[in-house]
Amino acid sequence: MNTLFSHLDSLEAESINVLREVAACFQRPVMLYSIGKDSSVLLHLLRKAFHPARSPIPLLHVDTTWKFREMIAFRDQIAAAADPPLMVYINEDGVRRGISPFVHGAAVHTDVMKTVALKQALDKYGFDAAIGGARRDEEKSRAKERVFSFRNTQHRWDPKRQRPELWSLYNTHVHKGESMRVFPLSNWTEMDVWQYIKREHIPLVSLYFAKSRPVVARDGALIMVDDDRFVLRDGERIEQRMVRFRTLGCYPLTGAVESTASNIDEVIEEMTRSKSSERQGRVIDQDVSASMERKKQEGYF
């Protein structure tokens, strides 16, 4: 019921309210830091919410070992700042089995190195609330997601057991072993995120900005050759193109878009003109139809 402030102010205040609620109501909350733009916004909000104190909620990065090298370098800077502290978790069992998106495919890789890894990390540290940067506008099955999304002891999302969420009154009660996934950016759109990054001068991984990069055209997507683990298929060749990324993930599974937008103003300008939806670049979502719904039920964010 608020029109006094700009819509970005309203969204910021709403997200801060959610973050404070997590800090106040959970024993062992954590923020899942994925290095992308949404995570960068979340981290910024986390610092704002608890100012002048340091955030009582630490960061956790679930590293699939297939992230872009630039992402890892950026993450290490964030870890060095330790505001708040950042933990890194890798599914070592998956590493030992040599799980690779090139060999095992997107679905197996994502399941083992991301979904299973996340569950392992949550169990290991006993986190009862995990904050993520997902937005409802990203994808159809997320449009109905709650801000506080209940997960059972197996980390499963049961759409039938989600709690009605009225006003900004969040039911934060969980039994031991159950947990909550919390999405403070639920009501933000991709454009809001970019506008906010611009307004607040939030640093980002430079992969979001156009540059000449080595890419391979594969299955209708442009995949960047980020290291020598890249396995070329017959007939494929590496070419230099001006590209940037709209979302970031594992490099073999993340499509680049051709673009000349090399700074934030140009990115916003480009987004205003061109219109293709954000997750198109994500190979994992296209793997199986209705895949997000299924992955969510299995415990993926």
Partner: protein, 618 residues
């Protein structure tokens, strides 16, 4: 200039009400299209889907955009409230869309709680329907004061003004009946786009704005309350020199230097600083998330309200409220729930359902319980006073949810209507002699031993033996037997779930008084529900309450059948009999578990004596 960059760009949250038949999906899809919000791949997909759905037609079928949810429904995936986002050059919009017909009340109430405004759709050919009334009622209940009435499918009535006018006047009288609110009506034809994104030439008799323009320009109240209110959400203490109260202002505004009061209570202090990460402010207003520091040390914590000291919020512990039941299990009067209101969580009971409301007709009906999706007007009793506002004045301080204490499900939402007067007039009388002194004079620790189990399990037998044994040890005791109490105190109660809840509540309260008197109280009641046993436990101090599960299998109880009740229940002569046609919820972790078939009565008694009189077994 890029979209939504300017600082005057505001956010409007609205809900759409109407069924697919009214063209709701088409209207929403058309609105997104006209606002230029569809991505190229979405438009391509829409063209493809439209050709499949209508092979002979050329036009885009906008309903297919948002009806994607139908596919999910067919897969058995629950859809309740879906949120959609779009923006124009002037505003950003969040639309709450509730597609389901099932659970409609619950879903619509949820959507409406996030809305400043409702768009109510009416089919021009059909006029007002029962659902129009229902939608409008729920919107009103949730405090939506502005409604856009979109009279749709005008193309199918030849754009006739008289039809539009008669629907508008019928709706206005409906809106008036349901409570004062502002209605903006407009005629649209969503399929063709008349008056959706642009004004239509087909209805020259309509001079008003198209829907998008109306949504962009309509005023929404900034804040309903004028007096400063901020619930303390989190206490910020980075070091001993800083103590800040973090929260979101939910009423009025506050300036540095203003005097505030911590409620409930009457501690006062002045605001020293308004801290934000972007620097200190002089003024914090409705909707802002800030951290306040005060000019003196006071004791405030999460759940307290910081309020204007000159005009503080009222305080009470008993209320009348409208409630919408959202739980799968019905609301039972006198069962305890957690109530979350603002940032505070308290224990609450519904003491009385004054009536339930038929959402279609608003008729008031008598009710003993509330089922899923029913609306009721109820009296609530809290275990402590809270600072509040009535919902119509301040939704944050007057809106609440009830949470089941065992399942932790959100089972209801409610809107405080007013405080019941008796709460402020009945004061707790301070007494000089307390429980500790009474117990001391008897030389014992007071206890409540709560025997639960099926009828015929042996509760009274064991309790009776135990009381004799305790008497021989010099204990002052009393045995409260459920059956005996039903001859007096509980004579008015039957065996329905509602009556059982009330039965246990009364027995628990009496036991509580007796423990307060310093006695060792033995309670024998079937008490089949975990909730009520938890309620009983909640009345006592740590260690005072001993849950004794007298565990005898149903077959054995039925074989013993000391009062011949099982035989009658099996014959259908008595209903609601625990174990037969009424459930018994076994205790999860009772203090004492007596498996009667494996132990002698004497052994059971000694086990209980050891539990409450450690070291007394000579």
């Amino acid at each position: 200039m890029t979209r939504n960059e300017s600082s005057t760009h505001t956010l409007l949250r609205f809900i759409t009400c109407g069924s697919v038949d009214d063209g709701k999906s088409t209207l929403l899809g058309r609105l997104l299209y006209d606002a230029g919000m569809l991505s190229d791949d979405q438009i391509e997909a829409l063209q493809r889907d439209s050709r499949v759905a209508h092979p002979e037609g050329e036009a885009l079928d906008f309903s297919l955009l948002t009806d994607g949810l139908d596919a999910e429904r067919q897969q058995g995936i629950t859809i309740d409230v879906a949120y959609r986002y779009f923006h124009s050059s002037r505003r950003s919009f969040v639309v709450a869309d509730c597609p389901g017909h099932e659970q409609y009340t619950r879903n619509m109430a949820t959507g409406a709680s996030h809305a400043d405004l409702a768009v109510v759709l009416v089919d021009a050919r059909k006029g007002l329907l029962a659902q129009t009334r229902r939608h409008t009622y729920i919107c009103t209940l949730l405090g939506i004061r502005k409604i856009i009435l979109a009279v749709n499918k005008m193309d199918l009535v030849d754009y006739r003004q008289d039809i539009y006018t008669s629907i508008c006047s019928a709706y206005e009288s409906l809106a008036e009946q349901l409570g004062t609110m502002e209605v903006h009506a407009l005629p649209v034809a969503a399929l063709r786009g008349d008056n959706v994104g642009m004004r239509s030439e087909n209805m020259p008799w309509y001079n008003g704005a198209a829907l998008l323009e109306l949504l962009e320009t309509i005023d929404v109240p900034l804040s309903l309350g004028v007096d400063f209110r901020m619930p303390v959400q989190w206490v910020n203490r980075p070091d001993p020199s800083f103590r800040g109260y973090a929260g979101t202002v939910c009423g009025g505004s506050v300036r540095v230097g203003d005097e505030i009061m911590v409620q409930p209570g009457n501690q006062r202090a002045c605001v020293a600083r308004i801290v934000t990460a972007d620097g200190d402010l002089q003024l914090a207003s409705f909707g802002q998330a800030v951290t306040l520091t005060l000019d003196r040390e006071i004791d405030a914590s999460r759940g307290d309200l910081l309020a204007d000291a000159v005009r503080p919020a009222p305080e009470a512990d008993q209320f009348a409220a409208h409630m919408i039941w959202m739980g799968d299990e019905p609301l039972l009067p006198n069962r305890g729930y957690w109530m979350k209101i603002g940032t505070r969580t308290v224990n609450a009971r519904i003491t009385h359902i004054k009536h339930k409301v038929d959402v279609n007709t608003q008729a008031k009906l008598a009710a003993l319980r509330l089922e899923l999706n029913e609306v009721g007007y109820c009296n609530l009793d809290l275990d402590q006073s809270i600072a509040f506002e009535v919902y119509a004045t301040n939704p944050t301080l007057g809106g609440f949810i009830l949470i089941d204490r065992l399942s932790h499900a959100t089972v209801a939402c409610g809107m405080l209507d007013f405080a019941l007067r008796r709460a402020t007039n009945v004061h707790w009388q301070h007494l000089d002699v307390d429980k500790r002194m009474r117990a001391q004079s008897k030389g014992q620790q007071p206890h409540c031993l709560w025997f639960t189990g099926l009828s015929g399990a042996g509760k009274s037998t064991v309790a009776n033996l135990l009381e004799r044994r305790l008497g021989s040890l010099g204990c002052h005791t009393y045995l409260l037997d459920g059956d005996n109490l039903r001859h007096g105190l509980n004579r008015d109660l039957g065996f329905t779930p509602e009556a059982r809840v009330e039965n246990v509540r009364r027995v628990a309260e009496v036991a509580h008084l007796m423990v307060d008197a310093g006695l060792v109280v033995l309670v024998c009641v079937i008490s089949p529900y975990r909730s009520e046993r938890e309620f009983a436990r909640s009345l006592f101090a740590e260690g005072e309450f001993v849950e004794v599960f007298v565990d005898t299998p149903l077959e054995e109880c039925e074989r013993r059948d000391p009062k011949g009740l099982y035989r009658k229940a099996r014959a259908g002569e008595i209903g609601n009999f625990t174990g037969i046609d009424s459930p018994y919820e076994r205790p999860d972790s009772p203090e004492v578990h007596l498996q009667t078939q494996a132990m002698s009565p004497d052994a059971m008694v000694e086990k209980l004596v050891a539990q409450i009189l450690p070291g007394s077994r000579q």
